[in-house]
Symmetry: D2
Subunit: 384 residues, 4 copies
Amino acid sequence: MARIRLGMVGGGRDAFIGGVHRIAARIDDRFELVAGAFSSTPEKARASAADLGVAQDRAYGDFKEMAKREARLKTGIEAVAVVTPNHMHYPVAREFLKRGIHVICDKPLTSTLADAKKLAKAADSSNALFVLTHNYTGYPMVRQAREMIANGDLGTIRLVQVEYAQDWLSEKLEDTGQKQAGWRTDPARSGAGGSTGDIGTHAFNLASFVTGLKLDSLCADLDAFVEGRELDDNGHVLMRYEGGAKGMLWCSQVAPGNENALRLRVYGSEGGLEWAQEDPNYLWHTRLGEPKRLLTRGGAGAGSAAARATRIPAGHPEGYLEGFATIYSEAARAIEARREDTPVPGDVVFPDIKDGVAGVAFVTACVDSSRRGGAWVRLERYAG
Amino acid sequence: MARIRLGMVGGGRDAFIGGVHRIAARIDDRFELVAGAFSSTPEKARASAADLGVAQDRAYGDFKEMAKREARLKTGIEAVAVVTPNHMHYPVAREFLKRGIHVICDKPLTSTLADAKKLAKAADSSNALFVLTHNYTGYPMVRQAREMIANGDLGTIRLVQVEYAQDWLSEKLEDTGQKQAGWRTDPARSGAGGSTGDIGTHAFNLASFVTGLKLDSLCADLDAFVEGRELDDNGHVLMRYEGGAKGMLWCSQVAPGNENALRLRVYGSEGGLEWAQEDPNYLWHTRLGEPKRLLTRGGAGAGSAAARATRIPAGHPEGYLEGFATIYSEAARAIEARREDTPVPGDVVFPDIKDGVAGVAFVTACVDSSRRGGAWVRLERYAG
Amino acid sequence: MARIRLGMVGGGRDAFIGGVHRIAARIDDRFELVAGAFSSTPEKARASAADLGVAQDRAYGDFKEMAKREARLKTGIEAVAVVTPNHMHYPVAREFLKRGIHVICDKPLTSTLADAKKLAKAADSSNALFVLTHNYTGYPMVRQAREMIANGDLGTIRLVQVEYAQDWLSEKLEDTGQKQAGWRTDPARSGAGGSTGDIGTHAFNLASFVTGLKLDSLCADLDAFVEGRELDDNGHVLMRYEGGAKGMLWCSQVAPGNENALRLRVYGSEGGLEWAQEDPNYLWHTRLGEPKRLLTRGGAGAGSAAARATRIPAGHPEGYLEGFATIYSEAARAIEARREDTPVPGDVVFPDIKDGVAGVAFVTACVDSSRRGGAWVRLERYAG
Amino acid sequence: MARIRLGMVGGGRDAFIGGVHRIAARIDDRFELVAGAFSSTPEKARASAADLGVAQDRAYGDFKEMAKREARLKTGIEAVAVVTPNHMHYPVAREFLKRGIHVICDKPLTSTLADAKKLAKAADSSNALFVLTHNYTGYPMVRQAREMIANGDLGTIRLVQVEYAQDWLSEKLEDTGQKQAGWRTDPARSGAGGSTGDIGTHAFNLASFVTGLKLDSLCADLDAFVEGRELDDNGHVLMRYEGGAKGMLWCSQVAPGNENALRLRVYGSEGGLEWAQEDPNYLWHTRLGEPKRLLTRGGAGAGSAAARATRIPAGHPEGYLEGFATIYSEAARAIEARREDTPVPGDVVFPDIKDGVAGVAFVTACVDSSRRGGAWVRLERYAG
């Protein structure tokens, strides 16, 4: 089937996540990058386009212009990747959604809960798809964990221990001009959550994706340990899920020795699972009363959900980019289904607009709870 | 120097921790077990004494009788190990303290905060020593961590992530007649905390021992996941330390795949440390901006505090019993100092009565917080 | 710069390594697959071309026809990936080399030493490049290890411990019709070495690449443990390098619990390095007398050689496909240099025809040694 | 039962292994140290006795005197621990054996094969027991591995990969006056093997103990990498077992980053096992075609052989000293059986004089093979 024509907003020179999206889109060869508003500075936008092999006449300095023109082109883009700082997700995505162009948007959904809800409306009223790149859900062993829990392998879920620790903001990196640190610690561009928004949402999303549990309430204690920092760089959160499971979530960007340490542990009445993003090809599984088993991507014991997200045999490690590519490939399958006017296959499970709203609600609830001294807050107040 | 004459209360046949204390007392050859009230059933007490090579005339069926008679003997015991269920720690310890016999007592200090405070008074007014066997503080790499933090190697401490997870109570083991499960889930013998009292106190103590931080307040969410269980089998706790450091503590006895997974991670402005009890000869250290280093017991980079607790070279693993033995050997050094009427050496750092009261206060505060829906409570209310 | 026009011989439906080459060629976006002889059955060749988005008029059923026609096309392929079973590497590569088309060839170079030497002549007399995909050399931490040893960080190298263990041939899989097992255990298609040729060459190459050492002599004990198997499925090899370093190499396809366990350890007078392919983002480094350090891809301590092979930040694991892609991207840089008639950059270090001959000489020497009862043999007899 | 009266030859101040034997003898409380010739210098011998609480009238400056006198005493020693350098094992052990005193002797058995055979004769003609402290056989998970292999859990054994790597002799430590390095690198005191005798024998013994295989022939390449060193500091050995299994053994004392890295991997037609001494509470087990399982000491899946060597529950790590203690406790059980004139229990499996002779034969064969350029030699030539 012909490759999907993809555009991109953001992701010019110096950006990090734009490049990741482009590789992810290429790995399984289902997309072709043909247009972009890679920067709001026209010259930079054109230079980035040249770097990326995108034709100059489809290099835009303005995302609105891009949306309008691409929508009119006969072979205009079918989907757009939105890889700007958070505060731009809403205005950008809206322009494409309203023209029926599918949106593949980076996380968190938006910088405010109000924007999130408006974007949800825009997505609901569009017939385009909305894909949120909580990329960690694309790892094969994350899919394996989700399948096992859905199958009841752990019995009733009691405990969710999730954490996402980094150390790159242990000092005031934002004062050095480092671009990533700049916008991620800036309330105007990131929203009210710092580490909670940047990585806490990933952790929250991962736990929800794997367990299928819905959060009822939380109690959060957020800190900005680095003096003068405006947004939290550490978050401690207790969680109560509907149905009685309990959880702890820790996110931190000031934990020296942690590069990108997203870890999930889930315990139920009949077993436990443990997974760590930095060693993603492994999943520890314990059936209560039996020895621990080390399940591997592609190895004995890996089921069909993992297999669908697996490219190469066990022992040949797949990594972050492949996990990300799985989100893109599922987006492609959904888009192809739309092309053909057929239903999206049931095994396409990428995070979507609802997950995005839930994530922003989570961050907002954390910030509120912490401002109120660590009071318990109900999620229904936010996610509505 | 002559071995210290040791007695024991509790620890008869079927008990677990009594045997551990006895091995720990033997490893460094500074104690000699010469008397005991190993059981409250006289025949059992005598049978246990015979098993253990203790003379029948020093096998007691009653701890009070033992305290009285040993105090009068010319070569009566100099110290007693108290290894009963929690609720008996206070009455037993008191009898020996008031006769000037040193007490080496298992944790938690007592089953109630009232008892803890009474015992503290008894200890304060006795000239005997009181040693609390928070044995995990005896591991060489725990000593190493403590020394490094005291030396400022981590800068200002920001974060304490501590957890103690087990799985042996994932089902209702107490209904099967298993003795350990029986008393540990019984409020009358354990006190108001289940997992919090049994293992949460260890985690709390370890974090305090290593960091030197004092807890200001906490917020706890405790659960008894196993139906019909009277005491918590899982605890989620947020912690605020004096001075601004924050922490999370998780204790659980219902986490399948965790045997005895006590883990401590501490992060400061200049570095991080990570230690796991099940692999106790390793300590991960990261200086901010440098690669992680794996410090080993006896290896390059291990300092004098670890060296004092080390028996054999690096790569020859020491374990739980040796860590426990270090507490006994420090007790011996303190007792020998008393014999000689010299000050206890400054490098003797075993947990004592104050740590015991702090531990019971911690458990009590957790239970209170949880009963009040997870409200924040100040520790000063409890530890007084 | 315009993408390099790539063709492929082999790699049709059911093949494994062809798909890997294609992803590897896409990841860094420097190649475009435009032609192929994916199968020797014309219909299959066309079907595979259709699967892969290759135009039907450039789907060949015969590699000679492909070589001839592509060489005449104005925008014919600039490079060809040869991903057939081993015995076809020589005849296929020769056709393209003699027409000046660059060859990217899978390992081992050929199925016989005679073929290897003929191919070396063909490569030497062509002005096309020859790239051998010993892909494990493309891992960033392998590059890091090589750079550190070249810098003298380990002092004089004394020991090379390398192993490559798998378990997928523990039973007689070739009797089940499994295609991969079929040709890999067939002397006619694989050559005289089984596990030695399939994975032992990788191990040998990796050790040579990282240390820069040249093998002087070896003693090998090869076995076919599975009854009726014609080629070795296990090899034990002692190695003596020029200059006095010694080594051990173990390759096995009958070691249950090993998926793709290629591991290299190198020890010198001043330090040691340890790397494992299944956890490729880590490199353990010990300076004699200091604690072990865990170097990570993209992390503190990683140098410029690793950086050149790195796409995304530390903690975001890269895997097998990215390591493979690094070989392709270096091939692209070399090909681009040829386009521009400039020298190939000095930091392009992909394995080439000489490494290929050395690898086949290694396998041949192992087989000879083993046949002679495990006698020591000199490599100069083979590599000439 | 009354404790066994134990004497010791060697093990005075500055010695390492003597202290280990004493702790090992104490842990399970079945021995009482009552006599010793701790040094050949009478004052040192007396000083060491005083340190150790041994009465001065049983502190000997001469082992012959000790043997004679203790044999005449009514409550003389029942067993003696021989912890001298290797060359003294034979003369010392002989004196005690011929007086019917049980011998617990450190490894390797002797410094020469001739001595080993003479000692074997002495042991055979004595009615005393001879216990060789290949202590690594005392680890619970080593016992587990042995039991599983004996039960056929691995099918037919094909491969034995064993290694013992250290780094403490990477420089010429023997020139600094360090006592351990001094005698271990001295042919007069150690014998013809350096690393092969000191640690290679442990590795060889461990593999034999666990698999039950008998070595047929070997090919060894030994080196003294440190200039001026008289004995090998590295050994590479290929092994052929009776019945067709093959093995590799690596021993090294010049591998930076290895503290005491004894590792054993065994692979059979139906499964594999992997164990590492530095993490001794774990045993990896793979059944062919199933996920890896992590068996733990005391955990689910551990059988009766491990249970007999286990003191405390899973997750409470036992270490080197406990493994060593298991050898002592088995010696005690055997000695107690002799006291009672009953057969030694069948589950007592400590290494004995035959294992000792096999170990010295192994070292001698390695040295011979290496001197002959790495020729294959048959073990029957040595072990006779």
